[in-house]
């Protein structure tokens, strides 16, 4: 049985009248877990509670069985890479990572710092001040500082933000190799492709609630098999509506002055039948636009499911 690195039990957190996290229960084991959700979903708050930076307003958070808030010993096992770009800019990468290593009580600081910097491939610039770094390089420096004591649980808040595709690939490879060594990694993102690229397990948060959790393939199926709404503009909306109405994937139609709204269970089937129907009715299509492809719509569907 694998160790439960992180456990949320009915965790809620509110700030005044605002509920940031609402009754979340979940467990994290070694491997990569993606925390997916739109901006403002409560992902950062959840990670901060896991890192012991915030106490929950209700419920319990446990890191390797301990309450992380106010317990500095927890940081032997846990590291947080925050989303905020701010780093002590006047320090060099090496000074920054060395300071973290010393504060974490590592015995052989120099070797640990060498390894951490090598792991993020910043050896060549390790004596440069962080203030002159690009966002991607700062992200790697923060990661080196987080990994210097080889924590068993690594929490990353939007680690791919601002990275170019090459840096993103490097970061993914790094996280995967870290996970292969038995580390539990939790990272937040609002981009599904990032999460399903490396996460073996996904937690979906919407409006502070856990909307879905499980294997990313299952989540993808849920997201693609949901009903879709398509807006159409054509030379004859009424005729087009009557031609589409009999198709089995169409579950709803509404006709406005210049807009035909179609709800379908299978978006791909509609894309095949639509040109055929338009041709048969001698109808010109001006616009075909999915109305609910934003992440917010996808997540809302998952919540209502």
């Amino acid at each position: 049985m694998s160790v439960v690195a992180l456990e949320f039990a009915n965790v809620s957190r509110w700030f005044g009248d605002v509920v940031a996290v609402n009754d979340i229960s979940a467990q994290v084991t070694p491997g990569i877990t993606g925390l997916l959700g739109p901006n403002g979903a409560g992902k950062t708050t959840l990670l901060q509670m896991a890192a012991g930076l915030l106490p929950p307003s209700g419920g319990t958070v446990r890191v390797f069985g301990r309450d992380p808030f106010g317990d500095v010993a927890t940081y032997q096992y846990v590291a947080l890479v925050p989303e905020a770009e701010a780093v002590p800019g006047m320090l060099t990468v090496r000074e920054f990572v060395t300071a973290r290593a010393a504060l974490l009580g590592i015995a052989n600081i120099s070797d640990a710092v060498d390894q951490a910097i090598a792991r993020v491939q910043l050896q060549d610039v390790q004596h440069r001040a962080l203030s002159g770094f690009s966002k991607g390089m700062r992200q790697r420096a923060k990661l080196a500082a987080a990994l210097v004591h080889e924590p068993q649980l690594v929490l990353l808040d939007e680690p791919f933000n601002g990275l170019d595709p090459r840096q993103r690939g490097q970061m993914m490879t790094l996280l995967e190799s870290q996970a292969e060594s038995g580390t539990a990694i939790v990272f937040s993102s609002h981009i599904l492709e990032e999460v399903e690229g490396i996460a073996s397990r996904v937690l979906v948060m919407v409006s502070g609630r856990l909307a879905a959790s499980g294997d990313h393939r299952e989540l993808r199926r849920l997201m693609t098999d949901r009903p879709h709404t398509i807006h159409l503009r054509s030379s004859n909306n009424r005729a087009l509506a009557s031609l589409l109405a009999t198709h089995p994937s169409v579950i709803g139609l509404s006709l406005d002055d210049a807009l035909l709204t179609v709800r379908v269970t299978d978006q791909a089937a509609l894309s095949r039948v639509l040109p055929v129907a338009a041709q048969r009715g001698a109808i010109s299509l001006f616009e075909v636009r999915p109305a609910d492809e934003s992440l917010e719509h996808v997540f809302s569907y998952l919540v209502q499911r």
Partner: protein
């Protein structure tokens, strides 16, 4: 039950621990202290605050040069000059502002931009962080204040301290630096925008209210510092008007020690239980 789970997890982690073994806390205290000092100095010793500090520290020296140029060599006049300038420029202005910048500057800036978590998400105990930051702020403030106090006496009195005023104010300022540093460090941990709040405390509370209302003189670090300074003066120099609002020597010492300890304890406690979010 949770303790059992924690012990099991600890054992599992210990088995899988890599070669970078976590050292015993005692063995790594020196490295931790150096790291705290490094992070603090990087935020404290910066161009703007340093320039402000040096500018204020130089003010008494300018006055001393002017005094010396017209001095008749009268020890009483020298003593009066030094006490007046030390009180108005060093104790009232330089000491609290230097302590504010050195004690609250780093923590305040780290809270604002969120980098405080790089210090707090570590196994270093919060009381150690507070203790190191307090000692560092006290030392930095003392260096600046002592340079100003000694420099002023050297210029105004041609290097002599026959009246013992310089020595008394030097000792009083160092004691005051410890009190102010503890207060402002606690303020930085407890209050947002602590530099502004600290400035208001120095200018409004100490500058006007505490100086004019003897009943609240114990709530003023400046009055307590003056009380301690007077106790360091030779008998003949005591009782000057500038000490009229200050508490007595013993009361000042007790209050200074109590306020310092209380501020440090509260700061360490708060740092242990402080929610850390950017700008909070």
């Amino acid at each position: 039950m949770n303790n059992i789970v924690a012990r099991v997890a600890d054992a599992a982690l210990a088995r899988s621990a890599p070669s970078t073994i976590l050292a015993s806390a005692q063995g790594r205290v020196a490295a931790r202290v150096r790291a705290i000092v490094k992070l603090s100095m990087a935020r404290t010793v910066r161009t703007v605050p340093l320039s402000i500090g040096l500018l204020i520290a130089a003010l008494p020296l300018v006055f001393a040069a002017l005094f010396q140029s017209s001095s008749t060599g009268d020890p009483a006049a020298l003593s009066s000059f030094l006490m007046t300038r030390y009180e108005s420029l060093v104790i009232t202005l330089l000491l609290p502002l230097a302590a504010l910048l050195t004690a609250a500057g780093a923590t305040s800036a780290e809270r604002e931009d969120g980098t405080l978590l790089y210090l707090l998400t570590t196994t270093t105990s919060r009381p150690l962080i507070i203790a190191v930051r307090w000692i560092l702020a006290t030392v930095l403030t003392s260096v600046l204040v002592l340079a100003s106090v000694i420099g002023t006496a050297l210029i105004a009195g041609n290097g002599s301290d026959s009246t013992g005023v310089m020595r008394a104010f030097a000792m009083g300022s160092v004691a005051g630096a410890a009190v102010y540093s503890a207060l402002f460090l606690a303020m930085a941990v407890w209050v947002r925008r602590s530099l502004l709040v600290g400035l208001l405390y120095v200018l409004v509370w100490e500058g006007t209210i505490a100086g004019n209302f003897p009943a609240v003189r114990f709530l003023s670090a400046r009055q307590v510092t003056l009380g301690m300074t007077e106790s360091f003066l030779p008998e003949a120099e005591r009782g000057a008007a500038l000490f009229s609002s200050a508490p007595g020597a013993t009361a000042s010492m007790i209050w200074a020690a109590a306020v310092t300890v209380l501020a440090l304890v509260l700061a360490a406690w708060r740092l242990t239980r402080m929610p850390v979010q950017r700008g909070r």
